[in-house]
């Protein structure tokens, strides 16, 4: 309700905008050091430019409305007027030069500040694919490596270096509340430094047009305390839990027997496909299908039953399942916390 009211304010009074709206994917709702300094820069430049625009408008209004003495038309320029106008215009051009030089220097230093690194940096690899995100954590040994999808957990107050890898087409990684965007370009190794100052869930979305489902390529960055983050990573490293109930076992059986396992990995089972997202702990992720639905048994069932209607053009085929199998598979996946 409160959020709804805030949204209304955002819409109705754009002027209030620069004070900051609580969108959860907004450059003006900054919660990370890079985004905060960008927000300051944005506000400063917008403010200066607004003043410039208003000065030009005042000059325009006066030019159009001032009283004039009668002169024969067309007006023959007078040398004294020409001289005065030349001086004014030279001064205005000089002022323009000063303003844009200031902007250039500010931009240079702001960019430099964004690249500052720290020692306790965490490195995560993010791959962009049509139309989802693969996320890989490394840890200190090869056994600690694990993959997840569309959800990136980071510890609050620590620099996180994202190694961005484009695998098919160009995508762009953007969580406006935490940092500016960076493209994922096939054949190039790009990096982006993000950092969250406050715990919270921040939405991000692909910003470079990447084909049919560019609109549905969202992800979440979840910033949490160091302790919660450690709990989360150690849980993620575990293989998927073995089903304890009959229905879940039936679901696992169907998942492994049907084509699902050809594209998806569930660690701890024989499913080891790499075309689609790693599903080892899918039940614990907030959303499925790159931010399309909250993860529930129902949404999983709907997605599996007809992915092409829900997200036309995506790479998941409709796998023919009986109603019983569909129920069991979705229950099984929802149980993979």
């Amino acid at each position: 309700m409160i959020r709804h009211a805030t949204r209304l304010v955002c819409v109705v009074t754009p002027a209030l905008l620069l004070a900051g709206c609580s969108g959860w994917q907004s450059a003006l709702d900054a919660h990370g050091a890079p985004a905060m300094s960008l927000k300051q820069l944005i506000i400063l430049i917008v403010a200066v430019c607004s003043v410039v625009w208003m000065l030009v408008m005042i000059a325009l209004i006066i030019a159009l409305s001032r009283n004039r003495r009668e002169r024969p038309l067309p007006i023959a320029p007078q040398p004294s007027t020409q001289r005065r106008m030349t001086i004014t215009i030279v001064a205005a051009v000089a002022a323009t030069t000063v303003v844009i030089s200031g902007f250039t220097v500010m931009s240079f230093f702001a960019t430099r500040a964004l690249g500052v690194t720290a020692n306790d940096e965490l490195t995560i690899k993010v791959r962009g694919l049509q139309w989802w995100w693969s996320v890989e954590y490394f840890g200190t040994s090869p056994e600690e490596r694990f993959e997840t999808a569309n959800e990136i957990h980071i510890p609050v107050g620590r620099n996180v270096r994202l190694r961005l890898e484009g695998l098919d087409v160009i995508h762009s990684f953007w969580v406006p509340s935490l940092a500016g965007k960076q493209d994922l370009v096939p054949g190039r190794a790009n990096e982006l430094l993000i950092r969250a100052e406050n715990p919270g869930t921040y939405r991000g979305q692909c910003a470079e047009f990447c084909g049919m489902q560019h609109a549905h390529m969202a992800f979440l960055v979840i910033a949490e305390s160091e302790a919660e983050f450690d709990r989360w990573t150690s849980a993620q490293r575990q293989p998927a839990i073995q089903p304890s109930e009959e229905e879940l076992a039936a679901g696992q059986h169907a998942f492994l027997a049907k084509p699902c396992a050809a594209c998806h990995t569930v660690r701890g089972t024989t499913a080891s496909g790499t075309t689609g997202p790693d599903l080892t702990h899918i039940g614990g992720r907030k959303y499925i299908a790159a931010g399309l639905f909250e993860t529930t048994r129902g949404s999983l069932a709907a997605w599996i039953a007809d992915p092409q209607t829900i997200k036309p053009g995506n790479n998941m085929p409709t796998v023919p399942l009986t109603p019983e199998e569909l129920r069991a598979v979705s229950a099984y996946l929802a149980s993979l916390k």
């Binding site: 969108g23 430019c49 030009v56 250039t104 702001a110 762009s172 500016g180 049919m212």
Partner: protein, 637 residues
């Protein structure tokens, strides 16, 4: 036949006024009927055709925009699916850039430049006819593919690998690439004609510092076209090669480079913006004189600003790639150069303000569009300064902020002056005035509708709404403003409808126009409205930059041209001293055949590389027909 009566080698000095006009009309006429229409090389007929076609494409592109606004009015709208939406926004961008904005500016120049420099036809008039047919074919190709649901769906920028052989399915990206070939061919042809017309066909006495600013703007623009278009030609040709014959220019797995595409595309794509904006700036500088009723302040500064913008425009392209991961220091250089373009833009704005300040404004519709232009273009220019800053850009790149920015620059900066120019030159082109009442209504609707539609998009962008998304989810805080934007677009559409209504009604039944209804100072107003086929019965000779404002004497003329064949005066580059009498080609059907042969070859080459080999034979034949001496008086010179 008439030529025989007066004998061979008749000069205009030999004839009485009425006899001279009759003789010239016979020599320069376009025959009535279909054949005449297809074979004409009259720059006014071709220019009019060009302008009309471009405005048809504007209307079609506007319909696409309206469809997108309906789709985005509310979250999860299901009116248009993702496949069709991607075609629509690609078509909207490609259509507006390649089929409307660039051609319409060149079209205005095709019509106006020969009149403004005081000559009888554009240089290379048959090439001019050819360029129109090629442009029409390119537009038809794009729109037919859309009707067949196989239009390009990769954005007007067609980034690889999405448009490459692996991810761009079907023939969609090939159609995009060949549409580029068509439009760049026609644009290059017109650019060459304009450069030669402006350099060599100016009226005697029209020295470099007496050229109207619009003509200067078109000269700079023509050079930009000549220098920028080859980059996109290289890009689109190598894309077709990648797709059709399996080269690997853009395939990183085989040593190709994905970013090579972006460099080539934007090396063309950024000057493209100025190819659209500079003519508009020239229109403003030229139109402001009769409405401020004073010569434009700072002629030299205005011309230098045009040239400086043209040169700088080739040093900015990387600001479209600030988040592609290029070296930071390189990016900073492009921040500086992109900011620097604000200086020549500022100079022009200040000169226009000075002109209005010292002038005595006449608030007719063209001036309203100039004022609307200044208000909105300054916003577009300032947001341009914002996105030139690398850190600022990392937050707004590829968001609705950029959509707002470039619509402020392209609609506010180019379409507003263009609409003003249509009102201004309409009496010259049609012989009838446009309605002032409807003109003012359409201005206010367009101005208010435009700002209400596009200003909120800045905010949407900062709130995180990316471009090119076919829908968004209800939990994003964007729906209220999107609905507002879509509703505002109705006002904008109403304004454009009123403009079209005004133009159509006035062309049929508007008040008859005098030769110089605005009391303007430039040469196109020295002839009848609409001008006769030969433009000027006697070639004007000028002695100032505002020839029609010199009351001291009536316009002097240069004489001695033959009247029994198409002839015009060639003058020297700097001082415009008469150098020679030059024959100007007659009407010919061959440019049409050559355009048809070229069209067949280009479309065929979407499907087979051998089209380039076999398709060039008919082109060669048509070119031979084109240049074959026909024994006409023009051939004998």
């Amino acid at each position: 036949m008439k030529a025989n009566i007066t004998g061979p080698d008749t000069r205009d000095t030999d004839l009485e006024r009425s006899q001279l006009r009759a003789e010239l009309a016979e020599t320069w006429k376009t025959p009535r009927g279909l054949w005449g229409a297809l074979a004409t090389v009259d720059h006014k007929i071709i220019g009019r055709r060009y302008i009309l076609t471009a405005f048809v494409f504007l209307a079609l592109g506007g319909i696409l925009a309206a469809l997108m606004r309906i789709q985005l009015a509310q979250p999860e709208e299901r009116l248009i699916g993702p496949d069709r939406y991607n075609q629509i926004f690609t078509m909207h961008g490609a259509n507006m850039m390649f089929l409307f904005a660039v051609p319409v500016m060149e079209a205005m120049a095709v019509y106006l430049v020969p009149l403004m420099v005081g000559t009888r036809n554009i240089a290379f008039p048959r090439l001019n006819a050819f360029s129109y047919w090629i442009y029409l074919a390119g537009g038809a190709l794009l729109w037919l593919s859309f009707a067949l649901d196989m239009a390009p769906d990769v954005g007007w920028f067609a980034y690889v690998p999405l448009s490459g052989p692996q991810y761009g399915a079907g023939k969609r990206a090939d159609i995009w690439a060949q549409m580029i070939t068509f439009t760049e061919l026609s644009a290059l042809a017109v650019a060459v004609e304009l450069v030669v017309t402006i350099f060599k066909q100016r009226a005697p006495g029209m020295t470099l510092d007496r050229i109207p600013v619009f003509v200067w703007a078109m000269l700079v623009t023509a050079f930009l076209v000549i220098m920028a278009m080859p980059a996109i030609m290289v890009a689109s040709t190598s894309l077709i090669l990648d797709r059709l014959v399996g080269t690997h220019f853009y395939n990183p797995a085989e040593g190709g480079d994905v970013l090579l595409w972006q460099h080539l595309f934007w090396f063309f794509g950024h000057p493209e913006v100025y190819i659209i904006f500079l003519p508009a700036a020239g229109m403003v500088s030229t139109m402001i004189e009769p409405f401020a009723r004073r010569p434009a302040f700072g002629y030299l500064a205005l011309v230098m600003a045009l040239i400086a913008t043209g040169i700088l425009s080739f040093g900015l392209w990387v600001h479209h790639m600030f988040v592609a991961g290029l070296p930071r220091l390189g990016n900073s250089f492009f921040t500086a150069s992109s900011m620097a373009i604000a200086i020549p833009a500022g100079i022009q704005i200040f000169c226009w303000l000075g002109t209005l300040w010292d002038g005595k404004p006449l608030f007719a519709t063209p001036l309203l569009f100039i004022i609307g232009f200044i208000v909105t273009f300054v916003i577009g220019g300032l947001t341009g300064v914002m996105v030139a800053s690398v850190p600022f850009d990392t937050q707004v790149h590829d968001t609705y902020f950029v959509v707002a920015h470039f619509h402020y620059v392209l609609i506010g900066g180019a379409v507003f002056p263009l609409l003003g120019a249509v009102h201004y030159w309409f009496p010259k082109i049609t012989g009838r005035m446009m309605s002032e009442t409807l003109g003012k209504w359409s201005f206010w609707l367009i101005f208010i509708g435009f700002n209400l539609t596009f200003f909120p998009m800045h905010i949407l962008g900062l709130q995180g709404m990316p471009r090119r998304i076919y829908t968004y989810q209800p939990d994003m805080p964007w729906h209220g403003m999107n609905l507002f934007v879509s509703l505002s677009a109705i006002i904008l559409v109403a304004g454009f409808l009123l403009f079209f209504l005004n133009a159509i009604r006035s062309a049929r039944s508007g008040a008859a126009a005098r030769d110089n209804p605005w009391d303007a100072p430039t040469l196109e107003w020295a002839t009848a409205s609409p001008p006769p086929s030969y433009n000027f019965a006697r070639i004007p000779a000028v002695s100032s930059s505002h020839p029609l404002w010199n009351r001291s004497d009536i316009l002097a003329v240069a004489s001695g041209l033959r009247t029994d064949r198409r002839e015009l005066v060639v003058t020297s580059l700097v001082t415009a001293e008469p150098q020679a009498r030059e024959a100007s080609p007659r009407n010919s059907i061959w440019p049409l055949w050559a355009a048809i042969a070229t069209t067949v070859m280009l479309i065929w080459s979407i499907f087979s590389p051998w089209a380039v080999v076999w398709g060039s034979i008919p082109i060669a034949i048509t070119l031979i027909g084109w240049f074959w001496p026909k024994g006409t008086p023009e051939d004998e010179s």
